[in-house]
């Protein structure tokens, strides 16, 4: 059994230990400016020059220093303007005034991630490294995809800290919004509404949502072997647009659809640009 004095001694020891623990965890870390100075000093001592990468790469220019200083907060407006002006002024336009060059060579630069590393040489071509942030070729997922494909125009949406970017994004959305509103007010059953969508329409069964009209079903060949009959000429369909886009197919039209589903005649009409979304149909296509 413990006597009273031992208990007090133990309690005091515990208190001292607790205090010591507190003192340890309460010790202040360095201030922001101290940490910045100390980090620079630590980095200067922490790197070896190697190959083409010399130690002067740790010397920041003004832009780099400012971007480091405001990396975790908002950049004050005047500082942002200063950075922007200095860097816009540093852009050299092409001396011959020609802005459009060889896009294939441009793509090579955009796709290249080497250059300037200490594992490179002076002769290693310097890439633009563009692929690291931007999807360069649509659908080419091995090289240029991200979990959600991001085009160059969409990319700033990931980096929403910058109010300027948010503004630009808002403007973009406003344009898109107008388009969608317009689309939404098109009356139900209108030929332009969901032209190729829905069961048994052109895009049905393709497995790709939102696919363009690439396959238009033509009417059945006329009995007697005279070839497919032209529904326009025959007056089956009052206007060309109704052919592929009819929201409620007329009974006659439904018959064509059913027949051609089994017919070997499966003409393909390729969509070749906005002007050809609703093409006129050839009378014979194989």
């Amino acid at each position: 059994m413990l006597n009273r004095n031992t208990k007090i001694a133990l309690a005091s020891a515990a208190a001292v230990a607790a205090l010591a623990g507190c003192a340890g965890s309460m010790a202040p870390g360095p201030s922001d400016a101290e940490a910045r100075a100390k980090a620079l000093e630590t980095m200067k001592a922490g790197f070896n020059e190697k190959g083409i990468a010399k130690l002067d790469r740790l010397n920041q220019d003004e832009t780099q220093a400012l971007c480091t200083q405001y990396a975790t907060g908002n950049v004050p407006k005047d500082v942002a303007a200063k950075i922007e002006q200095a860097n816009m002024a540093a852009i050299k336009p092409p001396a011959d005034g020609k802005y459009l060059g060889d896009w294939k060579r441009g793509e090579q630069v955009a796709q290249r991630g080497t250059g300037f590393q200490y594992s490179d040489t002076k002769e290693t071509p310097v890439g633009g490294n563009c692929y690291a942030c931007h999807q360069l070729t649509k659908g080419d997922f091995v090289w240029h995809d991200r979990p959600v494909a991001v085009s160059i125009r969409q990319d700033p949406r990931l980096r929403t800290r910058d109010p300027e970017v948010r503004l630009g994004q808002g403007v973009e959305h406003a344009g898109l919004f107008g388009l969608l509103v317009h689309a939404a007010f098109r009356p139900r059953g209108h030929p332009l509404r969901a032209a190729d969508q829905g069961r048994r329409r052109a895009a049905d069964g393709s497995g790709v949502p939102g696919q363009q009209v690439t396959d238009v079903i033509l009417p059945e060949p006329r009995a007697g072997g005279a070839g497919p009959r032209d529904p326009i000429a025959a007056g089956d369909v009052p206007e060309p647009m109704r052919r592929a886009t009819d929201a409620e197919p007329a009974p006659a039209h439904a018959k064509y659809v059913a027949a051609t589903r089994q017919s070997p005649v499966r003409p393909a009409i390729r969509w070749a640009g906005p002007g050809s979304l609703f093409p006129t149909y050839p009378s014979v296509a194989r």
């Binding site: 790469r57 832009t63 692929y131 649509k138 332009l192 949502p209 906005p274």
Partner: protein, 270 residues
């Protein structure tokens, strides 16, 4: 006519939004399948076995083993040590990560010089195997399944963390890169490589607890010092010195941010 154009634009928009997304998800699934297939039979175990041998084998001018090496939990205690590193060591009055501490032990216990202890920090094929890689594999494997618990009580630990944080955001070099350039945004990747957002706890936990790793494409076990070294190469910086204070500070920043997560390494990566 106006309606035609609108219809075309709407259809084009639908296609533009929907199609690449489908491809993206499929790709992601395929990558995950590949990663799952890799997990069985991780060659990192070969490094672990060699490391255990090296830990117990007498070596250096003094011809003693590393079994008396104090990794922070007392001399010779390996179990769980890595999940509590980097930390301040009173005997050296310096914050050290595992690899720095191993160099320290090989110098103080085994009598090697700094040059001898850091001769081959990273492996380069069968002819140039790295004892550091093997020892790290053995010691980190002994923390598998433990919770990350990196201390930040000592002023020098706080200082290292603060320096590491500043380094993370330091932009420099010919491409203006900082660590944050690639590691401060959610859901990005370069080609097929996911980029963890290390400014968030979840991202730091996911990334830090999965190093060291056996790199299939290189046939080597890669340690955290190697990871940072190669990041800076791609950042177009000069070469990060092995076991420099800079390397330890950045490790301390990332390790501390991973606190609370279960340590999973050595893992296997593409």
């Amino acid at each position: 006519m106006g309606k035609r154009i609108l219809g075309a634009a709407a259809a084009a928009l639908a296609a533009a939004f929907a199609a690449p997304l489908v491809l993206g998800q499929d790709t992601q699934k395929e990558i995950e399948k590949y990663r799952e297939a890799l997990v069985d039979g991780n060659p990192a175990e070969l490094w672990e076995a060699r490391g255990e041998g090296l830990w117990k084998k007498p070596a250096g001018p003094k011809n003693v083993s590393l079994e008396k090496c104090d990794l922070g939990l007392g001399p010779g205690v390996v179990k769980g040590a890595y999940a509590r590193l980097p930390r301040h060591f009173a005997d050296a009055d310096r914050v050290m990560d595992l690899e720095t501490r191993l160099v320290h032990c090989r110098m103080t216990l085994q009598g090697m010089t700094f040059e001898e202890a850091t001769k081959q920090p990273f492996g380069a094929g069968n002819d140039r195997k790295s004892d550091n890689d093997a020892l790290v594999a053995f010691i980190t494997a002994e923390s598998k399944g433990m919770k990350m618990d990196v201390p930040m009580a000592h002023p020098k630990e706080k200082e290292a963390y603060a320096i590491g944080e500043k380094m993370f955001y330091f932009r420099g070099g010919p491409y203006d890169f900082s660590c944050a350039t690639c590691h401060a945004t959610d859901n990005t990747r370069i080609r097929l490589q996911d980029l963890p957002n290390l400014t968030k706890q979840a991202g730091a936990q996911l990334a830090y607890t999965r190093w060291p790793a056996y790199r299939v494409s290189q046939g080597e076990l890669r340690t955290f010092q190697w990871r940072l070294n190669d990041c800076f190469r791609q950042q177009r910086f000069p070469e990060l010195k092995f076991t420099s204070d800079a390397s330890i500070a950045l490790t301390a920043f990332l390790a501390r941010n991973a606190n609370g997560a279960e340590f999973k390494a050595p893992t296997i990566k593409r």
